[in-house]
């Protein structure tokens, strides 16, 4: 059903108002336990969520929040003009599929059972792949990769040699990240020239930060093959990444990165590495918000809403896990990004 961009934008503005406010998020974080968390969540637009109260409650809640998020995407995509809708579908479903592929590869790498692998997957319909079950039932990791021949994931096959050489998954996982980035940027060609910058910014920003994080992990290692590890770079080039790997002082190397990367990666200087992910989300939020402010009546509003929704989903996943663990709101809120009020 295509109802025109104006209608979708209006609907999206209304949906942005339905996002959980800072107060609501704080109330959820203040819940003394996961039962109270669910009771408080019932009072929000999420309504009642029924999950079995066992040791997998946090995992089941995460699956529920992902489901709610994919429903939001579907609702928007359904009424969005076709090319835009197709792109939005690809933007999120491709990402989830890449995550699922990584999880299948990890399971196969350590010879986990098919049930364990299936359990670890994000509950979404396949996007490019026909059937996850076929991949899960493959004999080994190599068979999984070879079955991807003829799809957008075909370049993974060329990385099998590196995988064997290092007996490690990272060459395949890195390639999956770049497949996602390359394909999404290619898909933006279907969007109008005004709608492309927000996607470019988001994808490039995320890839650049991931590249720096990979460079930090490679610190102290000699003979790092930059072309092998960083086949795709955008805002931060290979020279900058080389500096991060080789610099004596990591803090100085981070300071020397251009904005906004130096700010996003600043928590590493105080060894609060997990805060980088929160900063990354904050950066995505700010990018989406800036793009939305530049065009209140177009595609940017729709994408911004979906970016906000994804951040909200991540926040709820973190909060529900924290509540299941009995953590205080103070410990939780540090890593929760709720800047939209």
């Amino acid at each position: 059903m295509n109802l025109g961009l104006e209608y979708v934008v209006l609907r999206t503005h209304a949906r942005i108002n339905d996002l959980l406010s800072v107060e609501q998020m704080k109330q959820l974080a203040d819940a003394p336990d996961v039962q109270e968390f669910l009771l408080r969540l019932k009072e929000t637009t999420y309504g009642e969520i029924q999950v079995e109260e066992n040791d997998k409650i946090a995992l089941n809640l995460e699956k529920n929040f992902i489901k709610k998020f994919t429903e939001r995407i579907e609702e928007i995509v359904k009424i969005t003009p076709s090319k835009m809708g197709e792109f939005l579908h690809a933007y999120f479903d491709f990402r989830f599929e890449v995550l699922n592929l990584k999880r299948i590869l990890r399971g196969k790498f350590t010879e986990s059972s098919s049930d364990e692998i299936a359990e670890s997957l994000i509950p979404i319909d396949p996007y490019i792949i026909k059937d996850y079950g076929d991949l899960i039932s493959s004999n080994d990791l190599e068979s999984v990769v070879r079955k991807l021949s003829g799809t957008s994931y075909e370049s993974l096959i060329a990385k099998l040699d590196l995988y064997k050489e290092y007996d490690a998954l990272w060459p395949l996982e890195l390639e999956l990240n770049y497949i996602y980035a390359r394909n999404i940027l290619k898909l933006t060609e279907n969007l109008s020239s005004e709608d492309r910058p927000i996607v470019n910014s988001l994808v490039k920003y995320e890839t650049d930060v991931e590249n720096v994080l990979i460079a930090i992990k490679r610190r102290g290692k000699e003979d790092v093959n930059l072309d092998e590890i960083f086949p795709v770079t955008y805002g931060i080039d290979k020279d900058d990444l080389k500096k991060v790997i080789e610099a004596e002082s990591l803090s100085q190397a981070i300071d020397e990165l251009k904005e906004p990367y130096n700010e996003v990666l600043a928590p590493i200087k105080t060894r609060d590495i997990a805060l980088v992910r929160a900063m990354l989300r904050k950066g995505k939020y700010e990018t989406a918000t800036a793009a939305r402010a530049g065009d209140q009546f177009g595609f940017n509003v729709i994408l911004a809403f979906l970016v906000y929704s994804e951040i909200e989903k991540d926040n709820l996943v973190g909060l529900s896990w924290g509540k299941a663990q009995g953590l205080d709101s103070e410990d939780l809120m540090k890593y929760i990004v709720i800047p939209w009020n």
Partner: protein, 203 residues
């Protein structure tokens, strides 16, 4: 039963007992030295143990915070999936070692998991912290076992020293005195008898 029951008050037995008491006294001295050394070792070890436990608690808090942060950043599903990609597990070998005759187990790490390459940097950081804790726990367990075995050996050595000093040696000294007294008595009797026999012959 008294210490002297079944004792043969002969010169041969006296000499044998005197030789034995010398050995027992030397053994007691050695055991006292061992006891003192074990006590010193135990005191020092307890101080180290206290320090290590304190440090472990601090590091545990740090590791727990890093792990919590990783879960909050990545979500439980992603954390579980990533941890599945760690292929090599921790392999340990337990070997016996000895200090002053006290045998205790030592743990050697044969293989360690490859954490950094496969995990997200957030999780890798938490995993490194947790791995440090595991290493510390292994060392602490090894040290605690060592301390416990030294304490047991100290208790056993102290009991042996006490038994030797308060029971065995006094008994042996008593036996020696008893035999010497008996032998003196016998030689006096012999002397008196000889004198009586000599007096009777003269008369």
């Amino acid at each position: 039963m008294s210490a002297t029951s079944g004792i043969r008050p002969t010169k041969g037995y006296l000499m044998e007992t005197k030789r034995r008491i010398q050995t027992v006294e030397r053994g007691t001295e050695f055991l006292k030295l061992k006891r003192d050394q074990l006590a010193k070792e135990l005191t020092e070890s307890l101080d180290v143990l206290k320090g290590r436990r304190g440090l472990l608690l601090e590091n545990l808090e740090e590791a727990y915070s890093a792990l919590t942060a990783a879960y909050l950043s990545l979500g439980p599903m992603e954390v579980q999936s990533q941890t599945r990609s760690i292929k090599n597990t921790l392999e340990l070998e337990v070997l016996p070692r000895s200090v002053m005759g006290v045998v205790y187990p030592t743990v050697r790490i044969k293989a360690t998991p490859e954490i950094a390459a496969e995990l997200d940097i957030t999780l890798a950081h938490a995993a490194e912290k947790v791995y440090e804790i595991i290493e510390e726990l292994i060392k602490l367990a090894e040290f605690e076992e060592r301390v416990e075995r030294i304490a047991n050996e100290l208790g056993s050595t102290s009991r042996k020293v006490n038994a030797l000093e308060n029971m065995v040696l006094p008994d042996m000294r008593y036996i020696i005195k008893f035999i010497e007294d008996k032998l003196d008595e016998e030689s006096m009797e012999e002397l008196v008898r000889m004198k009586l026999i000599g007096g009777a012959k003269k008369s």
